[in-house]
Amino acid sequence: MTAFLQIRNLSARLRNTGHRLLRSVDIDLPAGVVRGLVGESGAGKSMIGKAVLGVLPASVEIVEGEIFLDGHDLLRMKPAERRRLIGASTALIPQDPLTALNPSRRIGPQITDRLVDILGWTKERARARALELLGEVRIPEPERVVRLYPHELSGGMRQRVLIASAFAAEPKLIVADEPTTALDVTVQKQILRLISELQARHGTALLFVTHDLGVVSKICDSLSVLYAGKVVEDTTVDAFFAAPRHPYSAALLAATPRHNDPASSLRPVPRDVLDAVAAEIAAADAAWSRHG
């Protein structure tokens, strides 16, 4: 069976400086599976999600590679068809719930707008769906909330609304871009549990972008570790936490703070490991430019 999302040999760079952001990335994501994209800031994990959803910034260009969504070659489709396919079969749970809702529109339509505008539902049916979804993400008084504006809700509530919106069209794939980073620690847990629960119930494939290995261990099945836009390790969660193969992965895992062992916390990734990965990437780049 081919995976719902297949990323093949994807490379991207900054248009003006030529700085490489993604280096020959390969990712497979079958239906119903949760894959973590892990790495430091700037490792390119969010960039992969944006490439899949077709919202790369104008300053970034894809140099080579393919993205297949349900067998369709995204990068070679007509823009209008691609938009429709992405809108109908994928969704995004954004990082910052405070900025991801339009401040001048009511909550209800923001949950179900794509059902009406892209998938042709009637307004009444969409409204019923919005109420149902708000119940599913456990927001009390859905009838009242659909009429509110974003500023009338707390950050955690807004993230629930965004999760409801992501599941509205029963997408096959959801990209969650650090969905708990901007939230209060106490709220983080609830949101994480909610995403995990809805993912399992709807059988959605989930691409979970995060820098938090603790989160990965809780909700992911497999993970890709990124460094400087390159996948340095692609493995299952069980295998990774038992014994990471790549030295960088091992260092990253060791650097994760543990609440039951405060003495070992905040151990940075050692210099020699970083140097080794950098050398590995430089070698790959050299090979790439010889072949290109």
């Binding site: 938009r83 954004p94 910052d96 991801a100 339009n102 001048s104 707008d113 505008d117 009338e152």
Partner: protein, 336 residues
């Protein structure tokens, strides 16, 4: 409740502003050189004639005394009698007001439509040639003042390629059956499209001349605001939902980007109304501005005062209207 209090507060400050304007105008028109009485009398009038006329118009009293009398009358709704036409100032002014209001509002409409479309176009094709074209148009619009646009338009569409009337508000041959001076409004309401066409024919060029600089300002500011908004998270999220770029600009970005532009439109609209003075003169349009110039030429003190106070009143109401629209469009203010 909050809104009512805001409006009440604004009305109170409006009143204070108007009194201030009244004081300043009253004293300035009496201090600057020029004597209304000298303008009225034929050459060879005796000093006795001059004194008699001066007393008749109350101009023999001290300026503060004159002000007290005039202001007392104003409070009773009596703005005095025009020296040059011998008609009550209030009815003269109110008779001309609709023409100027219609001209200004049509100009505003053109400016918003033109500036708004250019801003959306420039945002939709940002970083491409079309945006450079919009920037160029904005630059030209901003660097040419309204009266120069008026002259350019007269040359182009009045002389070289005579498409439009260059003078007046309506053709004299037309029989106007309207009960108010709001010709444009009444011709629409009563479905007299022949008159409407004639009015638009006369109004188009002066309105466009007034509108072009404002359109350029709106276009420039709104485009800048839109370009920031289309990169915000909710606009990106809308793109992932399958919306086209044009749709994202119009339904996600525009309602939010319009807010900062709105304040500016309010300020600029008052400048536009000030511009009607020269533009109405240029196109012999029978409005308040044209009347203001005549009043100044004739040193018609009561009329000048009446016109200036009316302009001040309109300015404050425009600002009030902008604030209310702002509150209406911004849900964070509406429910606060």
């Amino acid at each position: 409740m909050q809104l009512a209090r805001t409006i009440f507060g604004r009305l109170a400050t409006t009143l204070i502003t108007l009194i201030g304007v009244a004081v300043i105008v009253f004293f300035i028109v009496r201090i600057v050189p020029g004597d209304p009485i000298a303008m009225m009398l034929p050459p060879g009038a005796t000093d006795a004639d001059i004194d008699r006329l001066r007393a008749l118009y109350g101009l023999d009293k001290s300026i503060p005394q004159q002000f007290a009398i005039w202001f007392g009358n104003v409070l009773h709704g009596d703005f005095g009698t025009s020296i040059s036409t011998r008609q009550p100032v209030l009815s003269l002014v109110l008779n001309r007001l609709p023409a100027t209001l219609e001209l200004s509002l049509v100009a505003l409409l053109i400016a918003v439509a033109l500036g708004g479309s250019l801003a959306v176009l420039g945002t939709r094709f940002r970083g491409r040639k079309a945006e450079a074209g919009v920037d160029l148009a904005n630059g030209i619009g901003l660097s040419v003042p309204d009266f120069l646009w008026g002259l350019v338009l007269i040359l182009l569409f009045g002389v070289l390629w005579p498409l439009f009337h260059i003078s007046g508000r309506v053709s004299p041959r037309l029989d106007i059956p309207f009960s108010t001076q709001f010709y444009l409004l009444e011709s629409i309401v009563t479905l007299r499209f022949d008159i409407l066409a004639d009015l638009v024919d006369h109004m188009f060029m002066p309105a466009l001349a007034l509108a072009l600089p404002l359109a350029a300002i709106i276009s420039q500011l709104l485009k800048q605001s839109l370009k920031e908004t289309v990169n915000l998270d909710y606009a990106v999220l809308a793109r992932t939902k399958g919306y086209s770029e044009t749709r994202v600009i119009l339904s996600e970005a525009l309602p939010n980007a319009v807010l900062p532009t709105l304040t500016l439109i309010g300020v600029q609209f008052t400048f536009l109304m000030g511009g009607t003075v020269i533009i109405e003169r240029l196109f012999s349009y029978e409005g308040l501005g044209n009347m203001a110039i005549d009043a100044v030429i004739n040193r018609d003190l009561p009329l000048i005062q009446g016109i200036v106070i009316l302009f001040a009143l309109m300015f404050t109401f425009v600002n009030l209207a902008v604030d209310m629209t702002y509150a209406l469009l911004n849900p964070r203010l509406r429910n606060a």
